[in-house]
């Protein structure tokens, strides 16, 4: 059973601005004096009503209060009345503390005190209700958020009391604050994220974006992103069709698109972006649009490319070492074995013997072969040192002329040169390398030419994708690439019997092209001719 001492007010809205008080606070002491033994029907009803209101107040975490005003318009401190729920909001048990305005104000959060007093003062002057949210510090020192709504009761134009309700909003406020902080955290994350986000609708218009996405747009096109504009307006011309098909794929299939892509910057640089697109659905699973996430992975990509390049270099080095082992095993040891055998033999031969001359000739030949292999190895090692030489712009036509001069006697009068260096006349390279490459390739074209036909050597240059491409083409005997393709550029590999050659030329050409950071490819058909394509970094 609830205490019948429960104080409460019931308020009805009248036509007037004022509240009409139906049930008024009654001082506790006066209530006592008025107490009668058997409650009247009205009193029973009132008591029930009191209980109901108390329950409702508790449920709504709302309490009511009243304070009387004297005829000078000043509140009577001791007249303050709180409903039980107000006590609870302030951290007290009902009636636990003696009420006065000082107690009330002592609980208002110091920072909110001025606003609270101002609201009440304004209400009195304007004769209007007030509604102010402020913090309180309850009995236990806990900060709470309350909403105070109140209104003065006037009698013949004079304020006689102030009544109102106090609603505890702490729980709601805390939830709100949490939501706000979650939102601001999210916003903070998005604004400071390394990833650029652009949200587009299903009409492919930009809905919203974060600063990083805008930064990317400025970097790629020099243009700031704008909401409600077509996304394609902010995409580089060369990437448009690809972007469009990717977005449509995401919209149609709901799958996430992810790709690492290289973008050219207006300043000539390049950046690598990881582009990820995924569908945005609402809670009803309707398609709202697509999120596009952009992450700059240039640094990582550069590291990967460097690693790959390093791997390639190491693999090449390893191949060179293996080739050296092979050379030692076969090419160096073959003449040596001959010398061993022949010198053993010669001890058993009479100088008058027919075999004696052949044996000494064989010895001489094998020694010369051995010497040649040592010289070749020296040339290869020397070439590896020459890489330290500076690169310079070298005139291609001059290179051809110098190569022809170097070939000298090997050059036959019936060689016809067709040169086309209109696209680029020069190439940046180590000249010694390039001359060696030109000499070897042109020399091969002459050496492996068809008998009884004019030799035509075509040399041309072009620029493609920032690389200088030099093409050599002849009408010679060609080479069977199906059989020998793997060994073309290997040391001491020969593919023709009737022609002299040690298998050094193309090995040197290949090594030098690689040392210049380029690539070389061969194309050939037996009986038709051979062409070499060299790609060098510009």
């Amino acid at each position: 059973m609830k205490s019948t001492d429960e104080n409460h007010t019931l308020m009805n809205r009248d036509n007037s601005d004022l509240f009409v008080i139906d049930a008024r606070f009654t001082p506790v002491n006066s209530r006592k004096t008025n107490k009668i033994d058997t409650p009247s029907r009205e009193e029973l009803l009132a008591s029930k009503e009191i209980q109901r209101v108390a329950t409702l107040q508790k449920m709504a975490q709302t309490g009511s209060w009243e304070i009387a005003y004297n005829d000078k318009g000043v509140s009577i401190s001791e007249s303050l009345q709180w409903s039980d729920q107000v006590y609870r909001i302030y951290g007290y048990e009902p009636k636990q503390v003696k009420l006065n305005s000082e107690l009330f104000y002592s609980h208002v959060h110091p920072e909110d005190l001025d606003e609270m007093i101002g609201a009440v003062a304004e209400s009195l002057v304007l004769k209007k209700s007030f509604n102010v949210g402020h913090r309180i510090i309850d009995k236990n020192g806990k900060v709470k958020y309350v909403q105070q709504s109140g209104e003065f009761v006037f009698d013949k134009g004079r304020a006689i009391s102030l009544i109102g309700i106090t609603q505890d909003l702490t729980e709601k406020k805390t939830q709100l604050l949490q939501l706000q902080s979650t939102r601001s955290n999210l916003k903070n994350i998005l604004e400071n994220a390394e990833t650029g986000y652009v949200l587009i609708n299903d009409a492919l218009e930009v809905m919203t974006y974060n600063p990083k996405a805008n930064e990317f747009s400025k970097m790629l096109n020099g243009e700031e992103l704008k909401s409600n504009k077509p996304l394609l307006a902010f995409i580089q011309e060369c990437k448009k069709s690809k972007a469009l098909s990717a977005i449509q794929h995401v919209l149609n299939t709901g799958t996430t698109f992810c790709e690492e892509s290289c973008f050219r910057l207006p300043n000539g640089g390049r950046i690598w972006l990881k582009v990820q697109m995924s569908l945005i659905l609402n809670s009803q699973r309707d398609v709202l649009g697509v999120t596009i996430a952009l992450l700059n992975i240039t640094q990582e990509k550069r590291l990967i490319l460097e690693k790959e390049a390093m791997n390639k270099r190491l693999t090449q080095r390893n191949e060179v070492l293996e080739q050296f082992a092979y050379i030692v095993s076969h090419n160096l040891r073959a003449p040596l074995a001959n010398i061993l055998g022949l010198s053993q033999l010669i001890t058993q031969l009479n100088p008058e013997d027919d075999l004696f001359d052949s044996t000494t000739q064989g010895l001489h030949q094998s020694s010369a072969n051995l010497d040649q292999v040592v010289k070749d190895l020296n040339a290869i090692l020397k070439m590896r040192d020459e890489i330290k030489e500076v690169e310079a712009q070298v005139d291609l036509e001059e290179l051809v002329q110098e190569a022809i001069d170097t070939l000298g006697s090997q050059n036959q009068p019936n060689v016809q040169f067709k040169l086309d260096f209109n696209q680029t006349r020069t190439v940046k390279c180590v000249k010694a390398y390039m001359l060696s490459i030109f000499t070897n390739l042109i020399g091969n074209s002459i050496k492996y030419s068809k008998e009884n036909s004019d030799v035509v050597v075509e040399v041309s240059s072009s620029v493609k994708r920032g690389k200088v491409i030099i093409n050599f083409k002849d009408n010679g005997i060609g080479i069977d690439l199906k059989k020998h393709g793997d060994n073309i550029f290997k040391l001491y590999k020969r593919f023709h019997n009737h022609k002299e050659g040690r298998g050094m030329g193309l090995y040197m050409v290949h090594s030098q092209v690689l040392a210049l950071g380029g690539e070389i490819k061969i194309d050939s058909e037996v009986g038709k001719g051979t062409s070499f394509t060299i790609e060098l970094p510009a």
Partner: protein, 133 residues
């Protein structure tokens, strides 16, 4: 004569072929030694001698242009059975590489792997094996 000794030496280096021939003749003065610097020509020669049933000892170099020793062995495998039967192949290479030895042993037709230069002891050993067979 029944046990006429027939040898084929295949090496793109004529000096080695000369040396091999001399060494073989030192051990077997009556031996007939055919020299080839191109494996394909040797194959053609073997196929042309279809009638004879004489045992032939063949010394084969590995490192040669166009068709090397391995290429020769691959082509040799495809010859008529009786041709394969009558020819004993010995790899004669300067290579010190174990992998070459292992690869040589993987061919059924290869009897052994001899490191250059060919010596009289080596020829004697082969000659005695041939007689035992």
């Amino acid at each position: 004569m029944k046990n006429e000794n027939i040898f084929i030496v295949i090496d793109d280096d004529p000096v080695n072929n000369f040396l091999s021939k001399v060494i073989i003749r030192k051990v077997l003065p009556e031996a007939i030694v055919y020299e080839f610097t191109q494996p394909i020509e040797a194959l053609e020669f073997i196929q042309s001698d279809n009638e004879s049933h004489e045992l032939i000892t063949l010394f084969l170099d590995i490192n040669m242009p166009i068709v090397d020793g391995w290429g020769f062995l691959e082509r040799f495998k495809l010859l008529d059975a009786h041709l394969i039967e009558k020819i004993d192949i010995y790899m004669l290479s300067s290579s010190l590489d174990e992998r070459d030895k292992i690869k040589a042993k993987s061919y059924k037709s290869v009897q052994d792997y001899i490191q250059k230069p060919l010596t009289m002891e080596g020829v004697e050993l082969i000659a005695s094996k041939g007689k035992a067979a």
